[in-house]
Symmetry: C2
Subunit: 175 residues, 2 copies
């Protein structure tokens, strides 16, 4: 009899690229790396905990003119955001089901760094996997990196998976 | 058919505590964590690459009076160091054999941070596991941390495994 499965938290987020909601390049990479290099064929030995932190825009309207927004507009936006988040998680959950590895998935709102560390304290995974754009020190000054913060502050081991150079979009701050 | 095993480099070192040469608390912990949480029962899916970096003391004599050292003394010391290093690796290799996971083990001399990063570039593991004493920021100023350097500079994903509080010796800088 094997012991309890190893509980791996994977932080996933949406792409910053325009278009239909989809997972960011780096979180897809981190997820796939975990399956390929850690879980491998031992699907019953692992459980993936998929956390998506939704960042609330200051005005709540990404690319829209928000000047004449009515309360109804805000409600509509919240619904759309929720749908986007669920759609994102569905992508990862589906893949887990396909290969037969157990998973849980949930959404939290707030600052990704704080929320991830908070959720680590709450659910106590064996370790945390985060994707990273692999930006240079100069680029990082402007965009900040969730992964570095987690490595320092999360109360569990953290492994950072960088995107490869050929996966980087034209603007490396995009993901 | 499964693909190539996942190659996990584990950096191991000797304890700083006095007595018979044995593995440091944090490298033993990192090794055991890897077996328990990553390898699990899937022993054929992984290969451990055990790297021990031997730090050369400036004068080559740990706790001895070196003033009257002859060339023979130096030769003797080098032999003893080599034996200590092999003895350390034997501890880890034996455990790997017991549970049936493939491994390679080797010794390099030099500065651990530089040598680990160099060996990562050379052998290209899928990821690197390093132990950490889990020192606070104040303590770190004085002892430096190999793990933080590796997280920043090693050209592969790195996972740092901290000692638990109850494993810490009286002086937390000891290991």
């Amino acid at each position: 009899m094997e012991s309890e499965p190893t509980r791996v938290m994977v932080a996933v987020n949406e792409s910053t690229l325009r278009g239909y909601p989809h997972a960011s390049i780096s979180s897809k990479k981190a997820f796939e790396w975990t399956l390929k290099k850690i879980v491998r064929s031992n699907t019953s030995g692992f459980k993936l905990l998929l956390l998506h932190v939704q960042v609330q825009d200051e005005d709540g309207f990404d690319d829209m003119d928000s000047i004449y927004a009515s309360p109804d507009d805000f409600r509509g936006m919240r619904e759309r955001n929720k749908a986007k988040g669920l759609h994102l998680l569905e992508f990862f959950v589906k893949k887990c089901h396909e290969i037969g590895v157990a998973c849980e998935a949930w959404i939290r709102k707030g600052d990704p760094t704080e929320v991830i560390c908070h959720e680590v304290r709450r659910v106590r995974p064996d370790f945390l996997v985060v994707g990273s754009r692999g930006l240079g020190p100069f680029q990082k000054v402007f965009v900040g990196t969730v992964s570095e913060f987690c490595v320092k502050h999360a109360e569990c081991p953290v492994i950072t998976i960088k995107r490869s150079a050929e996966e980087s979009p034209q603007d490396p701050a995009d993901d």
